[in-house]
Symmetry: C2
Subunit: 415 residues, 2 copies
């Protein structure tokens, strides 16, 4: 696979996130209301306008709305038809160039919204290094991985209402906390607020009963970068016995661009070695992993950006398809627009860890940030996730997935 050249010059930049091979999907507002747009180089094509002009015809209009859920619901044939038609319209020498060009908008000045309506949000824990690191901190190295971890993708339901698009500020939460040596809990702003570097998979087709890993793979519409903001002190006090709840409910930031599954097909990767075999309902069905490089950049309020972690989605132990298949084992119905976070993706080395909890080892070994020690997130920090699959002479990226920490509210319950 090589770059498909476009008549949009900026799409042919080998360092850009949005070549014609990508066709990432967002929702933008050119001034008269949000609608579906497609990233191409440093431009956004107004997909709703293409439909209105008859340049794009998927049957019923699917793009004249502020979410991509209608295209998802239309199914895999429509997904393929959409990509084929957009590729034809935007490729070098396309006879429709003059008719499409008026519908390009500069990406740099566009207001971007959530690219889809999140039906429900589930967050997994499918990164082995992350689970091992966290387990070692909490339970010691010998009991690091929970007994079930190598047998099922562990996950919990999150809160769809808390999902926000990149650029949305995130306010430091209050919560009930209790350190191990405190005599009683107290209500305070989180002092251990953190990010989590994840890949999000979007369910594009519904299910009503158990599905196989291969079927699950076909249900996935595309992917986003995902930051599962986490209040570690609130989490430590609340999570037994029913799991994380308010510690994960302040916000979850996703990238403004959905990378469709087809765009990542050239970057499929083999599963990791299995220490114990998976039961048949979770067995590897093929190259369901991806080779996507990931990075986390942290920018203090008055400082300079520093990349604090680099890793790769190949570090996941369970693929998004395995996570989704597990999600259906009980008969749980899945819906168009369900968002499935992978869990934090950490690599094996100290500089490949996808959370401050791991990078600073629970605060015990702060990292150096702009010359100062840093354990958790401070007010004014901006955390930006980035990710791209690297091809020969092109890359498939997601655009930045960022958020800035606002100070906690005044105590909402002060007398």
């Amino acid at each position: 696979m090589s770059m498909i050249r476009s008549w949009v010059d900026s799409a042919n930049d080998p360092e850009g996130d949005f070549p014609l091979n990508n066709l990432a999907l967002g929702v933008f507002d050119p001034g008269d209301g949000p609608r579906c747009g497609v990233a191409i180089g440093d431009r956004i094509v107004d997909a709703a306008a293409l439909e209105a002009n008859g340049l794009l015809d998927l049957g019923p209009r699917l793009c004249d709305r502020p979410c991509w859920n209608a295209l998802m619901a239309a199914g895999p044939k429509a997904w393929d038809a959409f990509r084929a038609r957009m590729t034809a319209l935007l490729r070098e020498g396309a006879p429709e160039q003059a008719r499409v060009a008026p519908h390009l908008h500069p990406m740099g000045s566009a207001t971007l919204h959530l690219p889809f309506t999140v039906a429900e949000f589930t967050d997994f824990y499918a990164g082995r290094h992350h689970a091992t690191n966290v387990g070692t901190m909490f339970r010691g190295a010998e009991n690091a991985l929970p007994a079930n971890w190598l047998h099922i993708p562990i996950g919990y339901n999150g809160r769809a209402s808390s999902v926000v698009v990149s650029g949305t500020p995130v306010r430091r939460p209050w919560g009930q906390v209790k350190a191990p040596d405190d005599s009683a809990p107290r209500f305070a702003p989180s002092a251990r607020f953190d990010f989590e570097l994840e890949l999000g998979a979007i369910v594009g087709q519904p299910s009503t009963g158990p599905v196989s890993v291969a079927q699950a793979q076909d249900m996935i519409f595309g992917y986003v970068l995902l930051n599962d903001w986490s209040a570690r002190d609130i989490q430590a006090w609340e999570y037994q016995p029913l799991g994380p709840f308010q510690s994960k409910a302040t916000a979850t930031t996703i990238s403004p661009w959905i990378v469709m599954r087809a765009a990542l097909d050239p970057f499929r990767a083999a599963p990791p070695d299995r220490e114990v075999p998976l039961l048949p309902h979770l067995s590897d069905a093929g190259r369901d992993f991806h080779d996507i490089t990931l990075a986390v950049t942290l920018t203090p309020e008055h400082g300079t950006p520093e990349t604090i972690a680099r890793t790769n989605t190949r570090e996941l132990y369970y693929s998004p398809a395995q996570q989704l298949a597990h999600h259906t084992t009980s008969g749980c119905p899945m819906r168009v627009g369900d968002l499935i976070g992978s869990g934090t993706i950490s690599g094996p080395t100290p500089d490949s860890r996808g959370s401050m909890l791991e990078l600073s080892w629970g605060g015990q070994t702060p990292i150096d940030l702009n010359g100062a020690p840093r354990a958790f997130l401070e007010n004014g920090d901006t955390v930006t996730l980035s990710g791209a699959a690297i091809g020969e002479g092109y890359r498939i990226g997601f655009g930045p997935c960022g958020g800035t920490i606002l100070p906690a509210r005044q105590n909402p319950y002060a007398p």
Copy 2:
């Protein structure tokens, strides 16, 4: 408060769930599509028809759709106006009787649908006897209550897509299970399938930041009975460290009728004694509990119904308003149509326990059912929850909340 008499004779039955004081809300289909209806005695009033005829005018039409979410979103003044107008139309001597009467339908033959669109579903663990019973079985009597339990209402996010209306059959799930002395997990139909007797609160107004207990109380639109079907063997294997997931995702059954908060106002009750004081953000704000009697009836496939548990919502330690307030502490946005389960409501005595897990003490002491020992649910069993607030000469009920267990599927992953 006494019964408000209606010209619908059956509504004046002191043993009926649906006197005029109740005005419970459902969605029914009289043959030409589902729409909003109001329970009155053994009839359903077609609220959409009343709007169409100008007998009910809440501004925009709110009832011509298959859910009550539009009335919820219209806010507390609309809720009060709705109740006042419906009471005027249906009370004894109402001049509109002849115009309303044609829009009554027999409840017994009506097809009932989910009464509202569930935005997101959260399940709490706010019953002290239940938490103590489960904790004793799993961790021993001395460590029964988790350290946080007396300080915050413990809860987890559930799966809205799994919520079904009373009468929907529930298929026994498959899942990965591993008994403590098994050498490896296996994939099997759940052998310890269970019910949980709960009260569900419906969020009728949204929030974007932390709310007080008093504000939370005002956001609650109404209540339903709720059965949180639970696969105990799947739960035991999966729940560490992130909480229950597939064990709770097969189905959650709710009653077809929403009892509005105002209907339960005469039955408000004081909080329980607090062993340790609650922090200010969770402090009791008033009589936010309710005196609602509850019962569970179990009917084997070829047997006779037996009431196997009786209890009361007064056994909750945290009110729905306290659960909701806690839910917002992190800034988690709440939405119109969010459903909040109370957690299992068990009383202090063996015959007041709200789950088979507790009634049979983890299967160790089966109960007698139709003369045979019974530990967990069998195929063909029908579990029916019922509940009512008992007034002087009338009761406010929810109608039955039931479901029948279907056998597990054939192994969906058999080679």
